[in-house]
């Protein structure tokens, strides 16, 4: 069990950080200094609280769903509530947790520091982005209380235009949420272009920056299309715009095209930042440079690009011609090629490294296993002939949860542990961290592995009841969900305890060479005492510590 090793930079001083100025947490005090802050680190922490709350809410919806599916007939909620639950679970998890989670929390916090910048390019836009997120959350929560939604998170017409639930406000809430995403992504792109420290060329940047950059591009160009299609649904629901109404010659399938033109790239909005986190974690904990820096960096951009041309694979049974479906299937498989390049590069990075098994590294291993599993089944469902069999069954549910939860949530947890000392200057309890990580993994596998079997056996998704022969797999899945929930709560508890009672971390507890660790932990309000000068890449583990420190000076 590796305790964190302090093998670089100076020993902690009186404040535990070795900084002349107080760190950003103590720089100002009072509620005002938080709510009106323009410091990217404080904004990141406010987002952190927000996304954790919504992870809890979305998780609660999921547990209600799973508990209902414990028995073949009605267990404890009625069918309408069940429809509400899976819709609200999807909406909460996708827009209020998964999309903002890694970029707005960890991206906001470490991206400027990684670049050697004092802040993002537009600090006020960053703060506004937080409040727009809060506004969207209020609208969505209000809509949940005032009727909810029972359309599924995809809002397919014609049902979404006639559903008696609060579809209009859901649409507006998601539209507002998109504005928040766009603000953050503009900030990231401009910051990466204009605020790199002296000497920090593109190919010296930490890989997390590349991933955030790719994500931002997708957000910028895909989100408006989603916003527009949901706005059309919202107006249709209230005023009868009828743009997709066959009575007036409209085509409901067109809505699916618009929706997936965003929502498929949205998958990459959710997974690319996770790739970035994993790249950082694998290098830091194997103390090795990536097997191929460029392969990881460019494959992110490759995914960002190809991701725009794969949306049709959601519509194989919606009347797409066989030729189109074949083309979309083949294009979808390109994503698998780029992803495989990444996976192989990460694995090759371990070779010859000096590996320490701290909690983030363990999450990396879970990620590797779950993501490969999810990715391979992705290739399977991108194949038209197979998808016809699996479409709208639990097989698909299991597939995308392997990517979204097994990939993104696992990476989120890896990041939460990896950057915890950076954000708060303290170390979490490593043993509890490892144990909760194992609980999360086992819980996850028990939740979703049975769902592959259920889907393959023919159990459709979104059904309230099921034949008795599916019950034992559903019981396994529900048990797993509860274990997963417990693991997440314990992991959160471990971090919360460490917030107050954790050991002082020192500036660089993992011995990482990445640039966010060259300043104090937690950093001072302006991140660096002096403007950094960078004369090496972010992964120079072959250099001795002194030389590495000398070549990336900042304090």
């Amino acid at each position: 069990m590796s305790q964190a090793t302090i093998d670089a930079d100076t020993r902690p001083g009186a404040l535990g950080v070795g900084a002349e100025h107080p760190d950003y947490l103590r720089a100002d005090s009072g509620l005002r200094s938080w709510l009106l802050t323009k410091d990217h680190k404080r904004i990141a922490l406010m987002f952190y609280v927000g996304v954790i709350l919504f992870l809890g809410l979305g998780g609660t919806f999921a547990l209600v769903l799973r508990t209902e599916l414990l028995t073949p007939e009605q267990t404890f909620i009625d069918a309408n509530t069940y429809n509400q639950m899976f819709t609200l679970h999807g909406i909460t998890m996708v827009w209020l947790f998964m999309i903002p989670a890694i970029p707005t929390v960890f991206g906001n916090f470490v991206l400027p520091i990684m670049l050697g910048a004092k802040d993002l390019a537009f600090p006020r836009v960053n703060l506004a982005s937080f409040y727009v997120y809060v506004l969207s959350a209020i609208i969505l929560l209000g809509a949940m209380l005032a009727g909810g939604a029972d359309t599924g998170w995809t809002f397919y017409v014609p049902y979404s235009t006639t559903s008696p639930t609060a579809v209009t406000w859901m649409g507006i809430g998601i539209f507002v949420n998109g504005i928040s995403s766009i603000m953050t992504s503009v900030n990231f792109i401009v910051t990466t272009h204009t605020l790199r420290a002296k000497g920090l060329s593109w190919h010296r940047m930490p890989l997390f920056v590349w991933a955030s950059y790719g994500t931002s591009i997708i957000i910028l160009f895909a989100t408006p299309v989603l916003g527009m299609s949901l706005l059309l649904i919202a107006i249709d629901h209230t005023f009868g715009l009828s743009l997709f109404n066959p009575r007036f010659g409209g085509d409901p399938v067109l809505f699916q095209h618009l929706f997936w033109f965003y929502s498929h790239p949205a998958v990459y909005i959710m997974i690319l930042p996770a790739f970035g986190v994993i790249s950082e974690v694998v290098c830091s904990f194997s103390h090795n440079k990536p097997a191929s820096y460029r392969a990881i960096a460019y494959s992110s951009l490759g995914i960002a690009f190809v991701g725009f041309f794969t949306w049709g694979h959601h519509m194989f049974v919606a009347g797409l011609s066989e030729f189109d479906a074949g083309v979309f299937g083949a294009l979808s498989m390109f994503v698998a090629i780029f992803s495989a390049i990444k996976v192989f590069t990460w694995v090759a990075t371990l070779r010859g490294g000096s590996i320490s098994f701290a909690t983030p590294m363990l999450y990396f291993l879970w990620f590797l296993f779950l993501f490969v599993f999810g990715g391979m089944t992705g290739v399977a469902v991108a194949t038209q002939s197979l998808d016809v069999h699996w479409h709208d069954t639990y097989f698909v549910v299991a597939h995308f949860h392997f990517i979204m939860v097994g990939g993104t949530l696992t990476a989120f947890l890896a990041a939460a542990h990896y950057w915890f000392p950076k954000m708060f200057g303290r170390l979490y309890d490593e043993r509890v961290g490892l144990l909760t990580s194992v609980a999360v993994f086992i819980g996850f596998v028990f939740t979703f592995l049975p769902q592959f079997l259920l889907g393959n056996g023919g159990m459709p998704r979104r059904y309230f009841t099921y034949p008795e022969r599916y019950q034992w797999l559903n019981v396994l899945s529900t048990g797993g969900a509860w274990l997963l929930g417990a693991g997440l709560i314990l992991a959160l508890g471990n971090l919360l305890v460490a917030l107050k009672w954790g050991k002082r971390a020192g500036p660089n507890p993992w011995g990482s060479r990445s640039f966010e660790w060259i300043t104090a932990s937690p950093p001072s309000k302006h991140n660096f005492e002096e403007t950094p000068e960078i004369e090496r890449s972010a992964y120079e583990y072959t250099l001795s510590e002194e030389v590495a420190r000398e070549r990336a000076k900042a304090r």
């Binding site: 408006p224 299609s229 249709d236 005023f239």
Partner: protein, 210 residues
């Protein structure tokens, strides 16, 4: 003055201005896709119902649409002139030109309003409210609906642009902008050009279909 306006995260004013410009271009790219989605819907439905679209848009007044096109292009020209003069420090001239452009925006909206009033009178309304002809053939309603939705969305952008133009005009008079500082003026100008460009696509699609 200029040392004051340099935000702490930037090293030089040039870089800060470059960042502001780049940010605006990114935002405009995003805006393009907002309209892009609707243009895609238009293309799809017009491909499905070519003659119905012509029929639906037949009663749009080419004269009024063209007038509006001329008004908007002229306003873009005055905005461009304003941006040119602020760089030379002639801020009062810029303020006047931006005020004039705002006025052109107002003229555009009035003309659009006259058209809308006419459509309402004819009952050429979007979606379920449409009752222009008995038993409308499929496709006509889609054309009208898209016309209303896209021009109304564009109209909202015109209003937003007018507010920005007016604000910049006032700030120019107050001496906020000049040779030392004009990137915000340029950015508002860019936004107005986008509004103009969108209309240049809307004009043939909704008025020149005959």
């Amino acid at each position: 003055m200029s040392a004051q306006r340099l935000a702490e995260q930037f090293e030089t004013l040039e870089k800060q201005d470059h960042a502001a410009r780049l940010g605006m271009w990114m935002f405009l790219g995003s805006e393009t896709l907002l309209f892009g989605a609707l243009f895609a819907v238009y293309a799809y439905y017009r491909g499905m119902y070519p003659s119905e679209f012509v029929q639906a848009l037949h009663h749009n007044s080419v004269a009024l649409g063209t007038t509006n096109t001329v008004v908007l292009i002229t306003s873009s020209f005055t905005v461009a002139l304003g941006v040119h003069f602020v760089r030379e420090g002639k801020t009062r001239l810029t303020a006047a030109l931006f005020a004039l452009s705002t006025l052109f925006g107002g003229v555009f909206l009035v003309v659009k309003g006259i058209e809308y009033a006419h459509h309402i009178h004819e009952n050429a309304l979007p979606g379920g409210m449409y009752s222009f002809v008995e038993q409308p053939p499929a496709g006509v309603v889609l054309g009208i609906t898209l016309y209303w939705f896209m021009t109304a969305l564009h109209g909202l952008h015109v209003i937003a642009g007018m507010i920005m133009l007016a604000a910049v005009a006032v700030l120019c008079l107050k001496g906020r902008y000049g040779t030392h500082r004009f990137v915000a003026v340029e950015n508002v100008g860019l936004y107005w050009h986008l509004v103009d460009v969108v209309w240049i696509f809307l004009w043939p699609l909704f008025y020149l279909t005959d």
